[in-house]
Amino acid sequence: MKVVFSGTLLRFVNYKKEVELEAANLHECIGQLGAQFPSLRPVLLNGDGGVRNTHQLFLNGEQVDSAVTSNAAACHLKGSDTLLILTAIAGG
């Protein structure tokens, strides 16, 4: 499967716009991203290990509901899937 990054997150993935990986579900996918890019982990995940709400996830063009990300292991993935992570962090 393919993971596409944009904006602020790019600096935490060495400015790779796309990453290819194999994952059976969203939980595995996020775990692999954290292992591959250790500095991404605290940015992507909150203190409880869940995906921060500041990130909008789109799976094959459809927005992934926060209820799905909170139960990421139940979100099954296949090799042809594309996950886009859109991050908009504003200043005060």
Binding site: V43, G47, R52, L84, A90, G91, G92
Partner: protein, 398 residues
């Protein structure tokens, strides 16, 4: 803030005209007689607005306006935005509306935690203008690199670091402060001005000088668990707060722009050049026409964005429409103030026609509630991402 029948004077169905009448009837004379005459002097000396300046808006219940109905508020951000627009029209000092919205918003944020102890100690006094709170978020870095730290010691936290800018910190009894914990997650702490280790000092600026800007240093501030308002992912909490406030910074500018256009046109009609009022010159008429177009553009985008708020049709973390509205209003406000200075010459620098002071106040919008440059970047990111998604959808449908 209720009529003879006990109904709220302002609410989610209030028209812009109703809100204007409310401000005209209840506050216009106060601004004209009490606030406006001292604005130039406060700007000259860099003196912020004092607490007693807000007494009339407190008595009208405006600090509690954003609270939910069960706490006596309206909870309606659309009508509050319209109200700020009108305050901006009648009040010469943009800082007044900015502080009003900040203090009202902080009370609502604390109320949303839904703890009885917080309601009694903070929310109720804040809704009456007896206490004030501000938002301590900004550091000398991006949000993902914040350096303020909270270290847990037993069941208490010790906080260290620097928050470099708060609006209205001069009056704040409470600072809602975002600090990174041992898991590199942000937590939201409620800190009191009197907590040992809190060091607050004014920040001197060239404009927006009555807003009481401060810098907060946390020198080993020690607080208990009860001061943690958001335990996990306070970064998202801050983004919601900023998203909700972004449009508020622009609301009073729309009213102020209209005021500038009116006073500028009136003044130019009284200036005789070449044996005729300046307003009879086509070049002057054209510039006034351009200012009018900018005022109407700003008003239209503001009312549209507020209407969308009322309909809850928005992204709660980064709403492109209201962010674009803030961006557009600030750019147009800067241009209108600048045009007014071009038209009035040296008189635009005086206390009688303080367009130069207003230009400096409008410049607070370049930085405030997300800089204009960052908004451009985030909006551009959204455009690119949406294009990618569309491309993907087309590929799937083929």
């Amino acid at each position: 803030m209720k009529n003879a029948n006990g109904d709220p004077l302002l609410g989610s169905t209030s028209s812009p005209d109703t809100v204007q009448q409310f401000v005209r009837d209840n506050l216009a004379a106060y601004f004209s007689k009490v606030i406006n005459p001292g604005a130039a002097e406060r700007d000259l000396r860099g003196v912020p607005l004092e607490a007693h300046a807000f007494r009339p808006v407190a008595d009208l219940g405006l600090f509690g306006f954003l609270l939910p109905p069960e706490l006596g508020g309206s909870g309606d951000r659309r009508s509050f935005g319209l109200l700020l627009e009108q305050v901006g029209y009648y009040c010469d000092e943009l800082e007044f509306a900015s502080l009003l919205s900040m203090y009202a918003d902080v009370a609502a944020i604390i109320a949303a935690v839904k703890r009885t102890d917080l309601l009694e100690a903070y929310v109720i006094p804040m809704s009456r203008g007896a206490r004030f709170g501000t938002f301590a978020y900004t550091e000398q870095s991006d949000a993902l690199s914040f350096s303020c730290r909270a270290v847990k010691q037993g069941n208490r936290y010790v906080l260290r670091g620097e928050k470099c800018l708060q609006t209205g910190g001069h009056l704040a009894d409470v600072f809602l402060t975002y600090v990174r914990d041992e898991h590199d997650d942000l937590k939201l702490f409620l800190l009191e001005r009197t907590d040992p280790g809190m060091h607050i000092e004014p920040v001197a600026t060239a404009g927006f000088r009555a807003a009481g800007l401060t810098r907060l240093e946390l020198r080993g501030v020690e607080v208990g668990e009860e001061r943690v308002l958001v335990r996990v992912d306070a970064l998202s909490h801050a983004q919601r707060f900023l998203n909700d406030r972004r449009l508020f910074i622009a609301c009073p500018m729309v009213g102020r722009m209209r005021s500038i256009l009116g006073t500028c046109s009136e003044h130019l009609g009284s200036v005789i050049r070449y044996e005729a009022p300046l307003t009879q010159q086509q070049a002057v008429q054209a510039k006034l026409g351009r200012m009018f177009a900018r005022c109407e553009t700003a008003r239209a985008v503001l009312h549209d964005a507020l209407q969308r708020w009322g309909a809850s049709a928005r992204n709660h973390l980064f709403d492109p429409t209201s962010s674009a509205a803030k961006y557009t209003i600030v750019e147009n406000a800067l241009a209108v103030a600048q045009d007014a200075i071009y038209l009035t010459g040296w008189q635009g620098y005086t206390s009688a026609l303080p367009y130069e002071r207003m230009l400096r106040a409008f410049m607070s919008g370049i930085a405030g509630q997300t800089t204009q440059d960052v908004i451009e970047l985030l909006l551009g990111n959204q455009v690119v991402a949406q294009t990618e998604l569309l491309k993907h959808k087309k590929a799937v449908s083929i």
